[in-house]
């Protein structure tokens, strides 16, 4: 093995490794310094961790959409970020209506369910339309084509919703039941955060069972292995793919509501960056792999919220949190270089590009 390695290694590898190691050293050094200065207390770190996990929860739910679609079609549904935006953006109106009805805080759970249904329905239908109109005709085209289409669709949707609902901010009303926090020992965990983390986890389990245990899940897996064969075995490939998009849409819709519980402002641009992060998360965990998406999202959320203070602060970088997106993307790059199949590996057989 080693011998082969020595023979195969090229200049590029060396440089890439050098870069990687350099960054690693930076990270470690930064962390050590930060921890030594003791600028942050333990409870601070815990708070950041919880925040990160909550954020990760949201990312996870979006990432599931990417992962499902990628798993089946081997394509990055770039427009998934807008699928994510469309639901909650619309749901804010439902929320306003519920307030007008006076249900919002009298039947909080019911209201929440309604809002989630609205959000999920919108997101799902957008996802299905997207597949039907933009992707299905291109299923056999070279892989660059659907990707470009997806990018186009993403912009089209973003600005369509801007046109429909306007470019202003749509605040999402607070829910009394979710205000405040629980004290677990000395650790404060805000109810919204708890909901986000739990919601994500449950959704992940549900999807996982659907994919692994149910009939449609079986069909999905066989389609992802080989569409032609699946078709021969009497599986309705189109229906399976539509279902997949629908599932992705639903999880995105629900993600949207959790997102609004945490960050109660909706606008037409809200999908873009979370979408990008979620994709990063999906790759991080091993795209096409449902638990992977969850794990990846959690890790990413964690690194994003803890990273700047831990790594950069120590290096004496001012306003480190400005660079947290940079951290996320750097992670993406290096994951793809050193472990392209992600933390848990790509569950589905991967096609060569």
């Amino acid at each position: 093995m080693l011998r082969n390695w020595t023979q195969r290694v090229t200049l590029t590898d060396i440089i890439v490794w050098a870069l990687g190691i350099l960054i690693l050293i930076g990270v470690i050094w930064g962390s050590i310094v930060t921890l030594n200065t003791g600028k942050y207390s333990t409870s601070t770190w815990i708070d950041l961790t919880i925040t990160g996990l909550a954020l990760g929860g949201v990312y996870a739910l979006i990432a599931l959409g990417y992962t499902l679609v990628y798993g089946i079609l081997r394509m990055i549904n770039f427009a998934h970020s807008e699928v994510f935006m469309s639901g909650p953006f619309t749901a804010t109106f439902a929320a306003q209506a519920l307030i007008a009805l006076g249900w919002w805080n009298t039947y909080p759970i019911l209201s929440l369910v309604i809002v989630m249904l609205v959000s999920a329905a919108v997101s799902a239908s957008i996802a299905i339309l997207l597949e039907r109109i933009a992707y299905r005709p291109l299923r056999h085209a070279p892989r660059l084509v659907p990707l470009i289409t997806a990018i186009g669709a993403s912009f089209f949707l973003q600005y369509t919703f801007r046109g429909l609902y306007g470019s202003g901010l749509k605040p999402f009303p607070d829910m009394e039941i979710f205000s405040g926090f629980w004290l677990i020992g000395t650790v404060r965990i805000f109810k919204t955060q708890a909901v986000a983390i739990l919601g994500a986890f449950i959704m992940m389990l549900v999807l996982y069972t659907i994919v692994q245990r149910t009939k449609i899940g079986k069909a999905m897996r066989s389609v992802s292995e080989d569409k032609e064969v699946a078709a021969l075995m009497g599986i309705n490939v189109d229906r399976v793919i539509t279902t997949t998009f629908a599932l992705g849409g639903i999880s995105a819709g629900i993600a949207g509501i959790l997102y609004l519980l945490l960050f109660p402002v909706a606008h037409f641009f809200m999908g873009f960056f979370p979408g990008l992060k979620a994709f990063t998360a999906a790759v991080l965990g091993g795209i096409g792999n449902v638990p992977g998406a969850f794990l990846g999202a959690m890790v990413l959320g964690l690194l994003e919220s803890v990273g700047p203070s831990l790594f950069l602060d120590g290096l004496g970088i001012p306003a480190p949190n400005q660079l947290k997106d940079a951290i996320a993307f750097t992670i993406l790059v290096f994951i793809l270089i050193f472990r392209p199949s992600g933390l848990l590996g790509e569950r589905l057989t991967q096609a060569k590009a």
Binding site: M1, N4, Q7, R8
Partner: protein, 263 residues
């Protein structure tokens, strides 16, 4: 003298052992074949030789170079080129361009040359073009030069692929089922063509082949693979009455299905 030496080459995919301690030697200017049921590891062996896979164990030597684990482009530059079981041409480039790409290792022009097209570059390109046409004629594609590769009929695509492989002036040419999907007469043509190649250009040729007629017809030495093991080696006659081979082909026919699924 021997051109290619593969010493106990072993390649695993996870649990599955695709090649297990394979030894194959090839003399200069020989025509040899590898046969075996589907999934016996024939193509895997090709991939090891051409550098797409790095075997876990064993060495592959081309002449005096140890090419084990070299990247494909290096291997090609050292003088091995191949064709594919399912034809893989550059579909949207013309035949000539396909050949020209094949000649890549022997051309120099880089970024600067490409931009300024100095006398040297122009000369090189002109000669390359002439050579390309010569090769086209040689493989019997005269006048097809400017056709999009994907618009050529099947047989001609095969020939173009071989032409492309020849363009890199290989010492060793690996042909992966060159007669696949051909009717008897085409097959016959192809056999003659392969002999012709060896005699005219002095290339050493290693075949993967299913059609026994072809194998027995043209190869001087045959190695039989089954489940990644070399179960026999010898002249056509020896192979024809080797019990193991017969077993491999008739006896466990059913088994081969499974292996196929795995590989």
């Amino acid at each position: 003298m021997t051109l290619l030496v593969a010493k106990n080459v072993t390649k695993r995919f996870g649990g599955l052992v695709a090649l297990n301690k394979i030894d194959i030697e090839m003399k200069d200017n020989a025509i040899q074949s590898i046969i075996g049921p589907n999934g016996a590891g024939k193509t895997t062996f090709f991939n090891c030789v051409t550098g797409f896979y790095t075997p876990e164990e064993g060495d592959i030597l081309l002449g005096e170079h140890n090419i084990t684990g070299l990247s494909p482009d290096r291997v090609t530059q050292l003088g091995i080129s191949r064709t594919y079981q399912n034809i893989r041409l550059f579909k949207n480039m013309t035949s000539v361009e396909n050949i020209l790409v094949g000649m890549h290792p022997h051309l120099k022009a880089g970024l600067i040359g490409g931009i300024f097209r100095g006398p040297l570059t122009r000369k090189e390109e002109a000669e390359a073009l002439k050579e390309a046409r010569r090769i086209l004629n040689f493989v019997g594609l005269k006048g097809r030069g400017d056709m999009m590769a994907k618009n050529l009929p099947y047989g001609e695509q095969r020939r173009l692929e071989i032409g492309r492989a020849l363009a890199s002036k290989p010492k060793l040419l690996l042909l992966d089922e060159p007669t696949a999907g051909m009717n008897p007469s085409e097959t016959h043509e192809m056999m003659n063509f392969i002999r012709h190649l060896r005699d005219e250009l002095g290339v050493t040729i290693l075949l993967i082949e299913h059609q026994m007629r072809v194998v027995m017809g043209i190869s001087e030495l045959i190695s039989v693979l089954d489940f990644g093991e070399k179960i026999a080696e010898g002249t056509p006659v020896e192979i024809q009455n080797n019990p193991h081979v017969i077993e491999a082909y008739l006896g466990r026919g059913a088994a081969s299905g499974l292996v196929q699924a795995a590989a």
